[in-house]
Amino acid sequence: MAGKIRIRARLDGDICEVKALMRHPMETGMRKDAAGEAIPAHFIEDVQVTHNGNVVMHAYWGAAVSANPFLAVRFAGAAAGDTVMVTWTDNKGEKGEGDTKIR
């Protein structure tokens, strides 16, 4: 379940728009479950978007980002067929990644 990313990358002139939907509980650590037990924090801390291996966006996320987060990024200097990759690391050290070719 964790690790899945659905990525789409579309070229509009010189600007590439990347849309990524990530499967992740993004649990804040502040909630209690139905039995009253604290639900441990489990959220993405680090996200990177790369274009042909070069980092075009690097973000530090926290518990405020909602579950199954959606990310949209626009950057310049892309061409159709180039590879866009999205990777994340969470507070437990788990990782997720996905890539796609720009259309």
Binding site: M1, K19, R23, P25, I39, N68, P69, A72, V73
Partner: protein, 268 residues
């Protein structure tokens, strides 16, 4: 370390409904939907549902591939749009959850108790088997016209019962479904309310369930929605796939008939 951030937009924390005049289908949620396009988190749940369908389970170590959802064993495409419907093998009308329960018991040898132990997600859960199956099965009817069968007398009885239940005032607050859903153009706090006794109201509401609920991070079914309505009406717990649940869904589906399924939907 220098972070290169070019024109990025990140989906933010859960929006509180108490911010400035937002109603269900206006303002910030329209923006959100437009931003996401087809990227409803339900897409992950759909994949999970498909996996459940084809994975052997239970004492009989069988999958659900032989489950007949009304169009023949294993035929899933378009099946959800014809629910609730009469099934000859059990001589009664069933909604999707009742039918899945039936297939799990008959094909997989699972127990009713196990299936009903926790059919719907509780706080902290990432989704249940029933929710995932419902998401996939509904997706297999996406774009199909809602056409619940109303030929068998039991199907028509279910509609009549559903209508009676819709207006049934009970509990310490004297609430019925019609209390909130019996008029057009109303809202509770900032949540717009569909007028479910009309075609337009029922069509908009019924066609978009099951749905991914942003506030909960899981896919919810129409059966769950009914259960949670009853909770808010100060009534006891509605059993999944029970007669009242089936009757009310029949009432909604028939009122909505003619509209296309647009599920899994995306809701607050």
């Amino acid at each position: 370390m220098r972070k290169i951030i070019a024109n990025s937009v990140a989906a933010c924390c859960l929006m509180s409904a108490a911010m400035g005049g937002w109603t269900q289908d206006s303002g910030i949620f329209d923006e959100y939907r437009e931003m996401m396009g087809d990227d409803n988190p339900a897409i992950f749940v759909i994949d999970e549902g498909e996996e459940y369908w084809f994975t052997p389970s239970g004492p009989k170590d069988a999958s659900l591939e032989q489950c007949d959802l009304g169009l023949g064993a294993g035929v899933v495409e378009g099946a959800y749009a014809q629910f609730p419907r009469y099934f000859e093998d059990v001589d009664r009308v069933m909604d999707l959850e009742a039918r899945l329960e039936h297939c799990m018991i008959e094909l997989q040898g699972r127990s009713r108790a196990e299936i009903h132990a926790k059919p719907y997600s509780l706080r902290g859960d990432q989704g249940t088997e029933i929710e995932a199956l419902a998401a996939w099965i509904a997706d297999q009817s996406n774009g199909v016209t809602i056409a619940p069968r109303q030929e068998h007398p039991k199907e028509r009885d279910m509609y009549a019962l559903g209508e009676k239940l819709f207006y049934y005032r009970a509990g310490p607050h004297d609430f019925a479904c019609s209390t909130c859903h019996g008029q057009e153009g109303m809202r509770i706090r900032l949540q717009d309310l569909a007028a479910l006794a009309t075609h337009e109201g029922a069509a908009g509401a019924y066609s978009s369930w099951p749905a991914y609920r942003i506030s909960e991070g899981v896919v919810r079914t129409m059966g769950w929605r009914m259960r949670d309505c009853f909770r808010q009406q100060r009534m006891p717990e509605l059993v999944m796939g029970s007669e009242a649940s089936i009757a009310l869904q029949t009432y909604l589906a028939v009122n909505a008939a003619g509209t296309e399924i647009s599920a899994p939907g995306l809701k607050r």
